[in-house]
């Protein structure tokens, strides 16, 4: 009987697999570091997914979903005047989020390498 590969029994150690939009949102949170909140994340996501337009609502929904998965955490800052006396909800990437993002980057790199060698693209992903 053929023995099953080892990784089949180690599902717990695998990073959460991310959809493309989730990757973009997580990358935006990572890039913005301490300044990651609704408005800035949305702007960064729009920038990363050019020329596609992204609604802010879709970004909120994805942030909520990733928070529930434990990939990011959020907290409310002090209220500010420019926001009508309301707080910002700041986001931060957790270790599991970093791991998931690394895993996605590796997959993207492998895809890029295959596409580049077949279609003759230049540069690195």
């Amino acid at each position: 009987m053929t023995q099953a590969p080892d990784y089949i029994y180690h599902v717990d150690y695998m990073a959460e697999s991310l959809g493309q939009f989730e990757q973009i949102v997580l990358t935006a949170v990572l890039a913005l570091d301490d300044n990651a909140y609704g408005v800035t994340i949305h702007a960064k996501v729009e920038d990363l997914s050019r020329p596609r337009k992204v609604t802010r609502g879709a970004v909120y929904a994805t942030l909520d979903r990733m928070e529930d998965k434990g990939l990011i955490t959020s907290w409310l800052s002090e209220p500010t005047k420019e926001r009508g006396g309301r707080s910002r909800r700041h986001y931060r990437l957790e270790k599991s989020g970093q791991q998931a993002l690394r895993e996605s980057a590796r997959t993207a790199q492998r895809l890029f390498d295959v596409i580049a060698s077949n279609l003759g693209l230049k540069g690195r992903a």
Binding site: G38, R56, G57, Y60, D64, L76, P79, E94, K95
Partner: protein, 321 residues
Amino acid sequence: MNGPPPRLEKIVLALIPPLAREAVAGDLCETYRSPRQYGIEALRTVPFVIASQMRRNLNLPALALKVALAWMLVGNAALWLLPALMLADAYQPAARPDAHHAIRQTMILGLAAMIFVQALSMNVSVMLRMGLSRPNWLALYLFGMVVPALLCLLRTGVILHNDRHTLPGAMTQETLAEIHGAFLRRARWHNILEGAALVAAAAMALLWLGAPAAAALTTLYLLTAIYLLLRGTPRALPGGDQRTGLAHYAHALARQRKLRHFLWWLWSAPLLMALAAQLQATPLVAAVSRAGLILLCFLLAVINREHGGRVQEEIGALTRG
């Protein structure tokens, strides 16, 4: 810089679910350029936020149980209740109502019930058609007089019970570990005891109730007991800094709240079923059963409202600053 027109802002605020209101309304305000841009942005954003809050606060077992109980009462019309209940979950309040507001609401509800009963008792033709004799509707009238006081007492009791809990203040890593440890122990014991009680209740349901209600209740009680004992207790604090710990604690609090919400409805299910079965009995018994159903549903709703609000206040305090 100018902000959005107050009236427009008020409408948008009312549409955003309370748990996301502060951050979403703040973001909309920060990017405000004109009333038109603000309105369009709100229209594009709010549906996603509502859908997301519906998903986040979805308590599938509780929802299924409520719809099943409603189905016993009103048949297929109960399916209309499904979207309404899901929407109500999305608009779950971020805090408890203040005591004055809660009591005022209860008094209005009680008085409305009393006026309804009084109006019914005055309409003799309706009473005769229902087959109620004079002494019976007098009893009903007296019951109507007692309802507001009874509802207010129930509401006050729930408010007082929840007021005994204090919110956490500023926390260090050590106090967080301490508070979370106590929460973990409390939740573990609570779940063990409630799991054991559910097993006992399942056995009693099997002995005392007739099929198919007994089979359904026993299965539901046993499945819930197994879940409580195996998966009910929250996990220990993960490694990482205080922010990660606070987020984990807040998540565990929200999960336990959903569990308790379902359990209150589950414990009340046999009583609700028994009362629902009496609705086909004599008019007086049916009327009293209907009143009992309303009172019990009211009690469950206010317990969930107060407890849920208190947990949300606690989560809010944990995730602020």
